[in-house]
Each structure stands twice: as C-alpha cells, then as structure tokens.
Amino acid sequence: MTEPTGTERLLRQLAPQVLGVLTRRHGDFETCEDAVQEALLAATGQWPAEGVPSNPTGWLITVASRRRLEMVRSDAARRRREVTAAALAPPAPEPLPAVDDTLTLFLLCCHPVLTRVSQVALTLRGVGGLTTAEIARALLVPEATVGQRISRAKQRIKASGARFEPPPAAELPDRLVAVRQVLYLIFNEGYTASSGGRLHRVELTAEAIRLARQLHRLLPDDGEVAGLLALMLLTDARRPARTGPDGALIPLAEQDRSKWNQAAIAEGTALVTSALATAPVGPYQLQAAIAAVHDEAARAEDTDWPQILALYDHLHRLAPSPMVTLGRVVVVAMVHGPRAGLDQLTAAAADPALADHHRLHAVRAHLLDLAGDRSAAREAYELAARRTLSIPERRYLEARASRLGMTGP
C-alpha cells in the first residue's frame, strides 16, 4: 500500500473546496471538475519541488480557473498563448470561500441519475481529490475505464438539468442514503486482504473514513452518518489482526486482539454511543453497535452474545436483508447452540437470494463444525469455497476444509 505524501494529503483535503468555489462561480460542473483535476495534477508536480504556496487554496482556484478558461475557449492559438501566460504569471491570491460547498458536492457526485460505480468514481475524484490514475489503481481497473465513467457521469448530471445547489429539504434524507451507501461501498472496496506490496493500492478504507469524517463534520446531528463512521472505525480497528503474515484471513474468533487499534475502537464506540442516545436509530448505528460489542471483548469467549443477538433482532426488524439473516443465524448458534443455528439456517435457505449463496454454505459449514459433524462440515466448506468469488475467502474456506480432512472424521 502506498501512503499518501504530505502534498497529496493536502490536495485531497483542499479539492472539494476548490471545486465548490469554481462550480459556484461558473455553474458548469463538468468543465470545472476537469479543470480542478488538472490543477491538482499541476500542484502534484510543482509543490514538492517549489514548496507549498502560502495560500494553497488560492493557488489551486487560480490555476483551475485558468485551465477552465482554456477549455472553454475553442481557439487553439489563443489557448496556446493562455498556457504560456499561465505558466509565467504567479497566481494572484484568491479570497478564501465564505461557504463550504462540500455537502452540495457530495450530493451531486452521488446524484440518483448515476449508476453506483459512477457515483463511486466521481465522489473519489470530485470530493476526494484523487486523480483518475489513483482511482483506477485502487479499483483495479484501467485508467481509461475510470476516465470514461467520470466523463459520462458528468454528462448525465448535465443532461438531467441538476444544478450545483442544495436539494430541497424534503429530498435531503433520500439523497443522503445514497451518499452513505457510496462511502460504505468505497470502504468495503478497500477492505481487501492484499498479499504483498505489489498492488500499491490507494488506501480506499482510509479515504472512505476521511470522507465519512468530513460528512460527519458537515452533519453532526445525522445519527446514521455518525453510525457509518463508527462502523468503519470499529471494523478497520481489527485490520492489523485480520490477516496472517502470509496474507491468509484470520476469523474474528482467532484474531490476536492485542493488535486491534484501541484508539479507533474508543472513537467508534463513543460515536455510536452518542448517536444511539440522541438520534433516531438506523441500520448503520446498529451494525456499529454490534461491531463495538465484539471489539470490547478482550477474548473471543468474553463476547456478550446475548447483547449482539438483541442488536441483530433489532436490525432484522429495521432493515432485513439476506446478510443480516445469516449474521443473525451465527449469533443464534453462539447463544443457543449450533443445532439451533442450523435449524434457523434451514429456514433461511428458503429465501432464493440465499439458497445457493456461498455465505450460506460457509455458515452451515461453521455450524456443522461447531456441532462436531466433521465430514458434513468439510463438504459444506468445500462447496462454499467453490461458490465464493473472493480469492482470500476461497483460501480460507479451503484451509478449513482440509484441516477437517486431515484428522479424519
């Protein structure tokens, strides 16, 4: 993984402000966004060598404004002269923006006319200040693919007639649902067990946490934004213990808990505790609360399973989903024994979305294993390994199957 440099970190932080100023001033989000991207690239090249300007935001606004002007002007000769002029003249200081447009920007990048993959790419670039190349590396797709997604997304926004302004208050809750989902998707996209340093992925989990922090700062009273940030922190806290030296996944019950990030756990727990006490309860808060109960157990056997089951019951009523059903089955097994879990799993398999899902087979394997039915557990682990689409999961499930096979039933 590549850590962002000081310049990169600063640029990502300033990017939404600069884009907000430009779009507010000129209205044409499509061109402004391209211009800001170019200004960021120019800064990446210049600042490390020449030093960060005394007013970095002003510098970026000036350079981006010039780039925008160049793009708007179609006359090629004129454009060449502009470039020369821009390169010679030091940027004049710009006044700092009086309003923070970051929330408007979040909402525009996660606009409902866009597909989810486009929302992800545009949010990472527009709000996150990442370059197309960085996004492509992070998402493991070619740069041209990401570039195309972004330009097409902006065309769609333009065609929809969406303007750079806050949506009507009545629409805001629904629009925020999409923003939270996009951030959670970015987080999960980065939550990978990478093997070795050869991947050089931008730290998407860190980016997602940074963006969620920004959103939480803008909307401190939104319990679900707080819940989302807490869920990310409480999940990411376990990362140092989640993979072995060979990159293999280590399940929660077997992790070395002394490696967990206690500062992140404390912050996440405080966030979710306060959100649950002050805001209407929601699915992110409940998932964060479940993660917090796991994280507060010093040893796996100290886990307060009845408490987790109560939270799952609540989550199941509030936001039922196949994955919540499966998660709850595991907890039922921990509270009432593996046979009780297996009974519930049979019922859950009636849902066509789950019937042949690899997670269902993985859970069945785990519960059969707990119940001492080694040969059936092995078969279920093998089935789950064949059905999963994730390389680390397949490795993990195969290892479980062969471990059961070695000693024999």
């Binding site: 999960n188 939550y191 994955m323 994730s390 390389i391």
Partner: protein, 123 residues
C-alpha cells in the same frame, strides 16, 4: 464486479459465418465494433479481443524440462474460443444483458464467468 464474457464458435456457427457475403461479414464486424464502443462509453469495458483462427493454436506441454508444442486445430475440440470481453459492471444481471447482445448467443455459444476478486468484506 468483473465478468469474463466468452464467445465460442462451433461447426454450425462457423459454417454460417463462412456462408456470409463480404458485405454481411463487414456488417458483423461493424456490429461488434459498435458493441465495443458502447461498452467503452459506459465505462464498463476493460479489454476485449478477437482471437485468430483455431488453426493457429499451439498446445504447450513441458515434460522432463523440455517444452513440446503441438499445432492445432484439434479435431476433438468442437467449440473453439473465438474472442472475449472482460467487463466491470454492477451485477451479474448486467453482465448477462451484455452477453445477450452477442450474435453467437442465438447458438448458445456465449458464457459469462465471474472473476475472483481480492475483497473479503464482512469476513
């Protein structure tokens, strides 16, 4: 999610293709070019290639450290891989929707395979 869309040919589909006039074949190529363009435009295409005739196939075997090749075509193989699209799209439903646009789908010669990824969210 990434999906590999595999396009096969079989004796029947090859016969139809070879029976096409030059203009009809040009139309076929143009259709595929248009499809590729659509997928570039939607930001879903990662790579697509058409493969040379199966007679160019070399089967490679290493035995006792020695590399041995045998030249195709191989009589026992009726269905030949003719080309592929690697796409990154939202769902398997969308991948199937793309696959259904391939003319060979009329002969049941298109396969969609999900690509394994490195994510292990929720583990």
């Amino acid at each position: 999610m990434k999906y590999l869309i595999l396009i096969y040919s079989n004796p029947a589909s090859r016969e139809i293709w070879e029976g096409f006039s030059e203009a009809e074949q040009a139309e076929g190529y143009a259709y595929y070019a248009g499809l590729t363009e659509q997928l570039v435009d939607s930001g879903e295409l990662i790579v697509s290639e058409a493969l040379a005739d199966a007679s160019h196939t070399k089967r490679v075997t290493v035995r006792d450290g020695e590399t041995i090749t045998s030249d195709g075509p191989f009589a026992e193989v009726k269905e030949q891989l003719a080309g592929f699209y690697l796409v990154d799209c939202e769902s398997s439903e969308r991948a199937v929707e793309i696959a259904a646009k391939m003319p060979e789908a009329a002969f049941g010669l298109i396969e969609v395979r999900p690509v394994l990824d490195l994510s292990a969210a929720g583990m």
